[in-house]
C-alpha cells in the first residue's frame, strides 16, 4: 500500500493504532445481537408471504394460539396507522412512515416473497416455528411484476392504486401506474449532439443484489412497568430505529430506548426497522421480553437489496476529446414501495465530468421485490457501469488513451456541477494522473488478458451527530458518541479526540451510546461517521480545552485569555513557571470547580466529495466464459486518512463487493416471483480465493469542511469495479458487456455472438 506521509503537525491522525474492539471481536467476547440474552426471554418467529403479489383475504391464528407454549401472536391488525406520514431522515431526505409500517408487516396486501404476514412469540424457537406453520392465511394471488421494463409496460399489474411518489425532487410525479419520474438537465442536448464528432449509444441492465452482511437482523425487546420499551439490536443507527419503532408502534419517542449492539456488517442495509417493531409488539402482548432472529433466507428474501436497473446511455464528444452531450435514462427498481436511489444514481452518473449539455432522467419503478435500501453509494454502481463503458468506447473512437480522455473532461475545483453550484476542492485530475503514472497501468498483459479503468464519484453525507467527552482525574477521557461502529470508527473518532486534546489515543476510551445516553445522531451511513461525528468530537474537545484553560487560569489566578493551549499543554503566557500537562490539570479539576465534560451536536454543511479510480487486470477463459481477477489497484482521495489501514480496508472491502456485483451476484426469481437463491451458497458473493491482493493508493486533497481535512471513504470504492471489469473484458477479448453480472454464461454468449458476427 502506498501510505500517505503523516503530516508533521499531526500527532495521532495518520497513524495506525490497534483497534480497541479487535480482540473482543475475534475471541467472541463482543456482544452481537445473537449473544444477547435476558431473563424470561421468549422467541419470536415470523410468517412470511409465499407469494410475490397477493391480496390477503383472511388470517386465522386460532390453531396457532392453542399450541402450548405460544404466548403472543400479532398481525397487521395489531399495528395502528402511523400518526406521522413523512419523517425526515437527514439532508432533506424523507421516509413515508405508512410505507415503512406496511413494509414491517403487511396490511391487506403482500408486495413481495417474504413480506411479513404475522409473528409469534413462544417459549422456544421450535414452538414458535410450529405455531407459525399453524397460521392459516387465505390469499388472492395476483400476477407479480418482477423487473422495471415489464412494470412500466402497458397492462402491467399495478402494485399500489395510489402511492406517494416519494422524496425525490420537487415536482416528481407519478407518470405510470408503477413508476414516478425525475428529470434534471443543463444546456441543450440536441445542440450538443449536433456538435459531437463521435457518439456512443447503448443499453444496459443490472440485477438486484443484496448487501450480504454476515450477521443477519437480530433484536430483543422488553417493556418496563412505565410503558417504556428497550430494544437491543444490530443496526447502523439507533436513533433511526427508535424513531421508526415509536411511529410504527404509536409510542412516544422518549419511551423507546434503542441499545445498539455490535454489528456484523450493514453496508446501508441496516438503517431501517424490520423486526424491531415486531419484537416490541410481541413483547407488549406477551408481557415478556422477546427475541427475534432473522435467518439468512429471511434476510435475503425480505430485507432491502439494491435496485436492478435498465439504462439507456447516449454520450457525444468532439474530435479533441471534449465531451459535449449526455442523454441518460435510468429505471431503478424501488421494490414493493416507492423510494429507490434515483436522485443519487442519476446525479452520480456523470458528476466528475464537465459536460455542457445534459439530460438525466430517472424512473422509480415499483416491482414485487423487497423495498430497496441503500447499499454503499446507492444507485451509483449501476449508473457507473453504463457511463464508464461509454466513456471507454468514446475514447476508442477518438483514438485517445481512456485515462487521458477522462483527464480532459474531469471536473476540477470551482467547475460548475450539473446542479449549478461550484465544485468544492477535489483532486480528480491528480488522481487520474497518478493512475497513468502507476506501474500497473503499463504492465504487460498476456493472451485473453485485459485491463480496464473506471472513474467514480460519490457525494457523501453530513447529517447530525453527537459526542460527549468527560475528563477523568487521571487524565484519561471517556468518549461517547451516537454513531454505531461499522468499520472501526470508534477508533478513528478516539484518534480525532486525542489529536484535538493533545493526548495519546490510548487515553481516550470510546463507547457507543444508546438513545437515552447520547445526543441525537443519524445513522452510520453516507460515509459520514469519521467525517461528521469526527467534527462533533472535535467541537466537544474544543469545549473541554476551553473549560480546562479556564480552570488553569483560576489556579494561576490569572485571566483565561492569558492561558495558551498547545497539544495538551496549558501555559501561562505571563509566567513561564505556570505550566500543566493535560494529565496534571485533569488531577486538579475536582478542586477547581468539579470534573469537566462537554457535549456537542453538529450538522456539518461542507461535505467533501469522494472520488475513486480503479485499474483491474482480468483473464477470460474463452472456453467457459469465466473471468478471473489478476491484479487490482484502487486509487482514492481520503482528504486526510485518519487511520490509513482502515481506509485501505474500506477500499478493499468495497472493491470485493463491487467484484461480486461485476461477476456473480444476482437475485434469481422464478416465474411466480419467489426468490430461488436465498442462501449464501446460491447467492454467490466473492470469497478470498476469488480476489487477488487489492493494492490501494490513498491520495489526500484536504476537505476544508473538516478541521483535519477528512472526507468519507466507505462508499465510493464499490462504484468502479463493475465498469472497470467490463472495460477489461473488452480489452481482453473484444466483446462489449451490457449486463450485470458478467457471469460465465453471459460472457460465453457474447463470445459466441462475436464468432457468429465474424463468420
Amino acid at each position: 500500500m502506498n501510505k500517505p506521509e503523516k503530516l508533521p503537525h499531526f500527532r495521532v491522525v495518520g497513524t495506525n493504532p490497534i483497534r480497541p474492539d479487535g480482540l473482543d471481536k475475534v475471541t467472541g467476547r463482543a456482544v452481537y445481537g445473537d449473544d444477547f440474552k435476558i431473563a424470561g426471554m421468549l422467541h419470536g418467529k415470523v410468517l412470511r408471504s409465499p407469494h410475490a403479489h397477493a391480496r390477503i383475504k383472511s388470517i386465522d391464528t386460532r390453531r396457532a394460539a392453542k399450541l402450548p407454549g405460544v404466548r403472543a401472536i400479532i398481525t397487521g391488525a395489531d399495528f395502528p396507522k402511523p400518526s406521522v406520514a413523512m419523517v425526515p431522515m437527514g439532508e432533506g431526505g424523507y421516509v413515508d412512515m405508512n410505507d415503512t409500517a406496511d413494509n414491517v408487516i403487511a396490511k391487506g396486501k403482500a408486495f413481495y416473497d417474504g413480506h411479513v404476514i404475522a409473528a409469534v412469540a413462544a417459549d422456544n424457537p421450535h414452538i414458535a416455528e410450529e405455531a407459525v406453520a399453524l397460521i392459516d392465511v387465505k390469499y388472492e394471488v395476483l400476477p407479480p411484476v418482477m423487473d422495471v421494463r415489464s412494470a412500466m409496460a402497458p397492462g402491467a399489474a399495478v402494485l399500489h392504486e395510489t402511492f406517494n411518489p416519494g422524496a425525490f425532487f420537487m415536482k416528481t410525479h407519478k407518470v405510470l401506474p408503477n413508476a414516478s419520474r425525475l428529470e434534471l438537465g443543463a444546456g441543450d442536448v440536441a445542440r450538443g449532439f449536433k456538435e459531437a464528432d463521435v457518439i456512443v449509444e447503448r443499453e444496459f441492465t443490472t440485477e438486484t443484489v443484496h448487501q450480504g452482511y454476515i450477521e443477519s437482523h437480530i433484536c430483543t425487546a422488553q417493556w418496563d412497568e412505565r410503558g417504556q420499551v428497550t430494544i437491543w439490536t444490530t443496526t447502523q443507527g439507533a436513533f433511526a430505529i427508535r424513531d421508526q419503532v415509536a411511529i410504527v408502534c404509536a409510542v412516544p419517542m422518549s419511551h423507546v430506548r434503542v441499545v445498539p449492539l455490535e454489528i456484523g456488517g450493514g453496508f446501508g442495509g441496516k438503517d431501517t426497522a424490520y423486526i424491531e417493531p415486531l419484537a416490541a409488539m410481541l413483547a407488549k402482548k406477551a408481557d415478556r421480553p422477546v427475541k427475534v432472529v432473522m435467518s439468512r433466507a429471511e434476510s435475503l428474501r425480505a430485507t432491502g437489496p439494491s435496485s436492478g436497473t435498465f439504462i439507456r446511455a447516449k454520450m457525444g464528444a468532439k474530435k479533441d476529446g471534449t465531451l459535449v452531450a449526455a442523454d441518460l435514462s435510468f429505471a431503478y427498481e424501488a421494490g414493493g414501495f416507492p423510494g429507490g436511489p434515483i436522485a443519487a444514481g442519476v446525479l452520480t452518473s456523470i458528476t466528475r465530468y464537465n459536460i455542457p449539455n445534459v439530460r438525466l432522467e430517472g424512473f422509480d419503478v415499483l416491482v414485487n421485490k423487497p423495498k430497496v435500501k441503500p447499499y454503499r453509494a446507492p444507485g451509483a454502481t449501476q449508473s457507473n457501469f453504463a457511463v464508464e463503458q461509454v466513456m471507454n468506447q468514446l475514447a476508442e473512437k477518438l483514438g485517445m488513451d481512456p485515462v487521458e480522455f477522462r483527464i480532459r473532461n474531469a471536473m476540477k475545483t470551482g467547475d460548475r456541477l450539473i446542479l449549478g453550484f461550484p465544485c468544492p476542492p477535489v483532486g480528480g485530475v491528480e488522481m487520474l494522473e497518478a493512475v497513468k503514472k502507476h506501474p500497473h497501468y503499463k504492465a504487460p498483459l498476456g493472451k485473453n488478458q485485459g485491463r480496464g479503468v473506471a472513474f467514480s464519484f460519490w457525494f457523501g453525507a453530513g447529517l447530525t451527530s453527537s459526542a460527549e467527552l468527560s475528563v477523568n482525574s487521571d487524565g484519561t477521557v471517556q468518549m461517547c458518541t451516537g454513531s454505531c461502529d461499522l468499520s472501526g470508527t470508534r477508533l478513528t473518532l478516539a484518534m480525532q479526540a486525542a489529536e484535538a486534546l493533545g493526548i495519546d489515543v490510548e487515553d481516550v476510551s470510546p463507547t457507543i451510546g444508546d438513545t437515552h445516553s447520547v445526543g441525537y445522531t443519524l445513522q452510520s451511513v453516507g460515509s459520514r461517521t469519521t467525517f461528521a461525528t469526527g467534527i462533533a468530537v472535535y467541537e466537544a474537545a474544543q469545549k473541554v480545552l476551553k473549560e480546562m484553560a479556564g480552570r488553569a487560569a483560576l489556579l494561576w489566578e490569572t485571566d483565561p485569555a492569558n492561558v495558551a493551549v498547545d497539544r495538551g499543554d496549558f501555559t501561562d503566557m505571563n509566567n513561564p513557571a505556570h505550566r500543566f500537562t493535560f494529565r496534571e490539570l485533569a488531577d486538579k479539576l475536582e478542586h477547581s470547580g468539579g470534573p469537566v465534560s462537554a457535549q456537542s451536536t453538529v450538522t456539518p454543511e461542507r461535505v467533501g466529495f469522494q472520488l475513486a479510480a480503479h485499474l483491474v487486470d482480468i483473464e477470460v477463459d474463452t472456453e467457459t466464459g469465466k473471468v478471473d481477477i489478476l491484479r487490482y489497484t484502487a486509487f482514492q482521495d481520503a482528504g486526510k486518512a485518519v487511520h490509513p489501514d482502515f481506509v485501505a480496508g474500506q477500499i478493499q472491502g468495497g472493491v470485493v463487493q463491487g467484484l461480486g456485483w461485476a461477476l456473480n451476484e444476482e437475485f434469481w426469481y422464478d416465474a411466480k416471483g419467489r426468490l430461488c437463491n436465498a442462501s449464501l451458497l446460491d447467492y454467490r458473493m466473492p470469497i478470498a480465493l476469488d480476489v487477488p491482493m487489492i493494492d490501494v493508493v490513498i491520495l489526500e486533497t484536504p476537505n476544508p469542511g473538516h478541521p483535519f481535512g477528512v472526507r468519507g471513504v466507505g462508499e465510493v470504492p464499490i462504484v468502479p469495479p463493475a465498469a472497470a471489469v467490463a472495460n477489461a473484458i473488452y480489452d481482453a477479448i473484444g466483446v462489449r458487456m451490457d449486463a450485470l453480472p458478467m457471469k460465465p454464461g453471459r460472457v460465453l454468449q457474447k463470445i459466441k455472438e462475436q464468432k457468429s458476427a465474424a463468420a
Binding site: 439532508e91 434534471l184 468544492p424 453525507a461 451511513v525
Partner: protein, 88 residues
C-alpha cells in the same frame, strides 16, 4: 441581488432560464420574490410553514445549509435547490 439557480423541473416557470436574480435577506424571501415573478415557484419549493418540501436540500454558496429557507443570504449569494441524497 442574489442569484438563484433554477432546477430543471422548475425551468418551465422561468421560461427556460437556468439562473435568475432575486431580492431578499433569507432563502425564504428570495423564494417569495421569485414567486411574484414566476407564480408557482413558492409552492414547488415550500412545504409546511417555513420548511422546504421533502426531498429538497438548500445550498447557499456551496454549503448544504441546515436552516433551509431561514438561512440568510447576501447580495452576491448563490442559492441552489438540489435533491436530498443520503447514502449507505
Amino acid at each position: 441581488m442574489a442569484t438563484v439557480w433554477i432546477p430543471t423541473p422548475l425551468q418551465a416557470l422561468t421560461g427556460g432560464e437556468a439562473t435568475v436574480r432575486a431580492t431578499g435577506g433569507t432563502v425564504k424571501e428570495l423564494v417569495e420574490d421569485l414567486d411574484r415573478s414566476y407564480p408557482g415557484f413558492k409552492e414547488a419549493i415550500v412545504g409546511e410553514g417555513v420548511l422546504v418540501r421533502p426531498g429538497i436540500s438548500v445550498v447557499v454558496d456551496g454549503s448544504v445549509v441546515k436552516k433551509g429557507l431561514l438561512h440568510p443570504v447576501g447580495a452576491e449569494s448563490e442559492v441552489f435547490f438540489i435533491p436530498a441524497i443520503g447514502g449507505g
